[in-house]
Symmetry: C2
Amino acid sequence: MSVGIVGAGQLGRMLALAGYPLGIHCLFLDRAADTPAGQVAETLIGELDDPTLLRELATRSTVLSFDWENVSVSALRAALKGLKTRAAPPLRALATGQDRLAEKRLFERLGIPTTRYAPVSSRGSLAAAMRRIGLPAVIKTRRMGYDGKGQRVVRSSTEAHAAFEALGAVPLLYEEWIGFEAEVSAIGARGRRGELALYPLSRNFHSDGILRLSLAPWEDPALERLAKRHLRALLAEFAYVGVLAIEFFVRGRRLIANELAPRVHNSGHWTIEGAQTSQFENHLRAISGLPLGATGARGYSAMINLIGEIPAAGKLLGFPGLHLHDYGKSARAGRKVGHCTLIETDAGRRDLRARQLVRELYPGLAAIP
Amino acid sequence: MSVGIVGAGQLGRMLALAGYPLGIHCLFLDRAADTPAGQVAETLIGELDDPTLLRELATRSTVLSFDWENVSVSALRAALKGLKTRAAPPLRALATGQDRLAEKRLFERLGIPTTRYAPVSSRGSLAAAMRRIGLPAVIKTRRMGYDGKGQRVVRSSTEAHAAFEALGAVPLLYEEWIGFEAEVSAIGARGRRGELALYPLSRNFHSDGILRLSLAPWEDPALERLAKRHLRALLAEFAYVGVLAIEFFVRGRRLIANELAPRVHNSGHWTIEGAQTSQFENHLRAISGLPLGATGARGYSAMINLIGEIPAAGKLLGFPGLHLHDYGKSARAGRKVGHCTLIETDAGRRDLRARQLVRELYPGLAAIP
């Protein structure tokens, strides 16, 4: 069985590694040979929207997927034309995930609480949005945002106008800035016959727009029930196949949807060692029409992103019980180059050891409790 | 970091997959391209003792290892000459593992109980061995045996002479045949500075000379202490680096060493999901000079070999909580093509579900309790 994947980053790498034991081979398309996934599986080299290469990828695969949501939906659609190869997740979910405005409107339509917002495309619509929604606010590009890129928090009209200029002549979204008590994410898989496999909730900690730490399971039964209800609504809406993630803010026992990702998600990396079946395996099982695997937690996990460079492997692996995931990337400030996971038998000890490891790895980082 | 591995079978495949998350790339040498490991990592194609290819493998690696013990020690030694690349496990351990007579003598020297034996190379020495050791017995080739190949159980002088003829004009070993209550194996890693990481005991069930089922941990503290003492003695004797396995017979609360394997071992495959660090990861950590990982069990595991062919993936993966490992081999009667692992929270439930799965997969198999 062969799965074609557009984009060969670390998500693709972990998909490929999860596929081999199942007898599933992933074939990638990306711009360079020495990508994280390209180091562990065959890659076609070229632009992500190259019609000839996309067609080759689709022809050589039984299902076509992606490890990054900013790939061209129309190019994927063209590549699949007349073939029996399916796209999974569905391209409609991909298109929605690419456009923050479409995402907001869908959240509203499904009754999933989200922040107040307004589309902005001119100084006039910016002024109107400011009046209606107020300050502080976040101004984001509607498209191509990830890891905090393409967005600015603004506290004044001057800052708002400066952000509008800086983000360029592209469609923007003006969003209410809200304080929150926590960030959590809900991740789950849906199979071809509608069967579901939903993971326990994870609590996430960001700094500079980049996820630093996820703790899972984050045991809050009421919030988890609510998050899973929203997740099920989205999965059903798209007749989804594969893994889907939603990030929420928690505010006064309410969940406020921040964004969705139509793919495996950084806040689900803990599932590799911390759940009975990883999100990567369940994504492949779902899109390949195989039965989904159990999602129960195995202990209490802390997943810590390695940003900029991998600390000396000896130092990291000397931390008892630590699982390292090196993405095979060169070092660069602010770049996700790997992650590591700790697993403990209770939540208190997990939190304690996670804090200790974060302090050791990132002594300068204040944002993690 | 690059590890060169001679032989690209399923052990190599699982080593390669364990290596990627650590940032370790395995490079293989084997006779064909489409081997289990060759499907997931780069392979040099040629004979396992080809001097030019072995030299290339050694030159491109920081450490040279093997996934099969019947590789030529002198060819490895020649390939390493003048290079800084180390061999691990040590070639002396490899040489001992290749020769059943050397293995027996070493067990005796270290005070590790083993079956009575005599080398046999002629009809005269066969008759002498029969008189001294008695019948029934097992006649084995001294070299190149695995999975029950190259050995015969004999119950009479006629059978003994027939086996002597059938096994050919090669050095043989005549061994006492003993009844036993159970088979267990002890597996552990030793690092470059002598640090140890020993796994819990596993209980093994063979049929037709092929391992079918391993249950681990097999909780018998007295036997485990004894097995680990023997394992430590062997690891120290060789100043070993990497993973070593010993198979024992259990008879009247005593352990009787059957054989050693200077490599990761089939009866340790449960450690992928069932231990904090897998035997594959610990082998790579040890031979690469990295700290060893914790070996504690995560729940109670049952590992079942898939022999002949992989059952339909849908059927197998529909078994809740099952982890599949497809080796990417074509189907062939008696061939190990994969394994699967179940993990439960107590030993009783593990044994029950393992029995159920074995019955489903191998309805004809009587030898597994």
